[in-house]
Amino acid sequence: MLSASSAVRALRASSAPASLRPLVCAQCLGLVRAALEPRPPVASRSRRQLAFCARAGSQAAPGGSAAGAAAGAGVPFRKRRKDEARARKAAAKAGGEGRGRAERAEAGGSGGWELTVGIEIHAELNAARKLFSEAAGSNYNVRCGSGAGGLDAPNTRVAEFDLALPGAQPTFQKGALVPAIRAALALGCEVQRRSGWDRKHYFYQDQPNGYQITQYYEPFAKNGHITLYPHDGLPASDGASLTVGIKQVQLEQDTAKTLLRPGVAGGDGGQPGTMTTTTTTTTTTTTTTAHLLDFNRVSHPLVEIITLPQLHSPRAAAACVRKIQGLLAGVDALAAGMELGGLRADVNVSVRRRRNGRDAEADEGAAGAAQSYGGVAGLGTRTEIKNLSSFKAVEDAVALERDRQVAVLEAGGRVESETRGYALGARETRKLRGKEGEVDYRYMPDPDLGPLLIGRELVERLGEGLPLLPDQVVARLVEGGVSVKDAVTLAGLEGGDRVEFYWEVVEGLEETLSGEERERVKPRRLAANWVLHELGGHLAAAPFPSPLSPYPISPSALSSLLVLLARRVITGPTAKHILASLVAGDARDPTCIVEEEGLALKPMSDEDYAALASEMVRENEGMVEQVRKEKEKGRGGERGKVGWFVGQMVRRGEEGMVEPGRAEAAVRKVLGLDG
């Protein structure tokens, strides 16, 4: 096994005096750390540079907004930022209105346009090692990390092959198959017995071999599908449910992380810590930017999930990505969610004109010949928007791109097949490269790696051990009487931990309560209410940091509290007080607390019932009169009125204390209906 430390030794050795310059040396690592610590974690420009851009009135200002360009020299940075934020807000609003119009167009009607979206998702697998070396994979255990790669010192999780050292060869790590197969099964795919490895070639500094190993010709899983429901965020206009085909799922390597470190002077490539340099030209001066490379993430196992082009609204597209993330997380296949960079999406967008309300066709005249992708024919020319890193970005980018394409076509132009980019908050997608700039990846079967053979047995075993999928969890909750809204919320909290907690509470309740009691209190609904809302309230007020559990009380403590409530030993408000004290650290059993603090409610006597019934009768003389009239008619019509009185008594008495049977007896007695 190659440990991180020996990898570092390896790196040091490779940069021994013989090589031209130390490229991954201790000094570089120091610089990377320095770059990470005092500055915001890169990705955008440093403040100093922002100020510089502002002074220069550069077009490279963040967002590139109109306000940014208008802001003249000498405007203080803080004010400029405010103005920009305001401009962005206004733009978003305008965009929103535009969307409204387009949403209407989407709803149908001749002359409208139909949007078609297919999605490619790259998800980092929850695997201990890299795909082709024993080096440890990405680390997301530290949840406050700056994104993919976690917080480890840069370039410490690297083996020879990961750096593409001459003579190093890949060794497939079987461990990656466990999350990969789980993911494929969660997406309803057929896992292939035999699949292969292919090299996808392109030059980029985050790709040490000059190619990515992927499964282009023979992916390991095919022909799956997922179903989107309104609770997933599917808009009403897309119907009650939408099934989206999964064309294939393929295993592949992740890339290294590039960190931009601006403002490095010179650019002779010989600077310590300078790995690759690019020259950035602004309107006034030339600065050189260093790209610092962290290879911790390189070759971490990814799955690429390709859907069929079967989505027809921006919200459905976002819902699809969210759903896939939930599915992968639900089966423990995902290293981290979109918010941490563990999942990225590319969307393929096209529009075609609707005809006769229903059938849509590619606009032959304007858009050229109709296109076909993934077996779906008659589509308009598509564009691809790459590297979207949030659900919102997916939704916004699709909406903006649809609007752009519709505008182009309505103006008589044609949509070009091209690759575009989108930055959150931007007002339109941006062209990255056209068809002529398309990369020929020169796919070639990897001559070092044999085929990947996956046994039936492994797939079956993993299938049996698969946790319930989120939809199944929700269905089970709803069966127990929980509302769909609460069920969806419960299922999604703390990555599924909350629903686990819930089931333990339910189990405690159902074991203790008698059949009659269960019938009366509906323990599953009761538990859902307390686990979601009451306990949730405490969690929201003060998150409970513990390495072992995210919850301040045990499920058994909550279930014994709820047993007391269900059996009417205590009232609801009392139960809430006890919960608060448990959360605050009272270690006693709820039963003890009730006894020692004398919180148990004494049951009502017959006299108490009589007094309560009399009180009700006194207060509602009109009702008493009606009862008398009905009684005279002799058709039994008074029964409903008695029921009304019982209801009033239940409401008036201490919560949970008035038993309807005894209350009815007392009312009938007071009203003189007995005998």
Binding site: A10, A13, A18, A164, P166, G167, Q169, D206, M275
Partner: protein, 539 residues
Amino acid sequence: MSLLRQAERCVANQVAWKHLNAFISVAAADDVLRQAREADETSSSGRGGAPSSSPLHGRLIALKDNICTTDLPTTCGSAILARYTSPFDATVTTRLRAAGAIVAGKTNMDEFGMGSHSRYSHFGGVAQPASSHSSATSTTAPAHQLPPNPTDAALLSAGGSSGGSALAVSTLQAHAALGTDTGGSVRLPASYVGVLGFKPSYGRVSRWGVVAYANSLDTVGVLAPGARVARDVFAALDAWDPRDPTSLSARTRVRLSAMDATREPRVRRGLRIGVPREYNIAELSPAVRRAWARALERLSAAGHAVRPVSLPTTRLALSAYYVLAPAEASSNLAKYDGVRYGSRAAGPDSGSVARTAGGENADAVGDDGDGDILFARTRAAFFGPEVKRRLVLGAYTLSASAMDNYFVQAQRVRRLVAADFDAVFAVANPLTTAARPPVRSGGAPAADDDAKVDVLVCPTAPTPAPRLADVERLRPVDAYTNDVFTVPASLAGLPAASVPVEGEGEGEDSEGKIGMQVIGQFGDDGLVLDVAEVMEGLR
């Protein structure tokens, strides 16, 4: 002779023949001699254990400079790795050291193995004097002390790409040497300089730490004064390596040893030797054709059955090879971008200004519209002309529009070539299931059992070692035809050895040594070396 004496003689020859450029780097002499002295001590005291009983104990072995060593640079004969030292030893290096061998140095080669004369080296080309065959046995310093001048009529090609390794053995600068053979790079130089060159079956010797040229063809091979030493070196290397995904598994090796067990009776009974008709090409030099005929006559006289066989796909093999090898090379050499190690052109080597910290699939191509391609300056500055030629060729044959016509077709030819061999060997290929009928390319009927053979014997190259002056005048593509006889065994992954036989004539008129190639069924490596040894004895 003591191990120290032999080491001293090698070191002396390294100094004497320095001008022939066999080595890119040599181990420090005092270090080498110290190890040899220690080896002598452990041998005489008998306390050495396993290494001292190993035939490689205390012997100097030279390694081709594409085999990784931590103590000497690994340059692949290229400017792009001119000052690169690997942080790890290749598995073959580790195994040789474990067997008690001393690494003599790193031998010169065509850049990344691409060439047939060891002239395409950043460190200057290799040459052999016309008289080196006779000089090799002499312990006195040779007459040539000046750097080789390609126009010198007395200089011959040492063959390539393992020319440095072959020359190091022929001039006694090392006991034996490792080379790599992708399409003939061990056998061709062995043939030209007159030593034994052995390319084992693909997958028997680990490639971990051997810098890839074309992975599906690359094989570590042995250059040795004779079959016996070649067998010693091969025995030290022939083992499964978990680090090389193409290394034959322990399970396959069990099958191979069952095959190996039948080898002695086969030799004793008299070998059936196949002579492939298709190898008797018009371009074959008369000297080689005569040597081939003489070798067959001698084998026949020694009681072995010589019979003609047909390998109909042979004529397609060379073109298929020159599609597949450059395709894999263009992929394998994509890693040399100057970013993590190796040489790098001065100044920014990036094509784009607008590129942000992109991740997965971020726009990969580095074209910023100014025609400035990512890493182009580094790769243009540090790759030699032949490497560039093959990279461009490979990139083309893999491109979407050409893939089906070239790469895919060449893979089909490769299968046909393998099927041709399976059809003539008496022993079934242990890698393919026994029951499968061989695929035939043409109408030639499958040979019945009587017509089948144990090994094939044919020339290694169409000509003896050419004069350097002639080589320099060749068009690059003309040099590719040197590989015509060696490429088929490479495509099929078969074991093959080049055995030196004497040409005709004496003194000034001597045709020198000519290489005869022995090719065996997959896994029949032991038999190939046996036949080589038999041929060495037929003088």
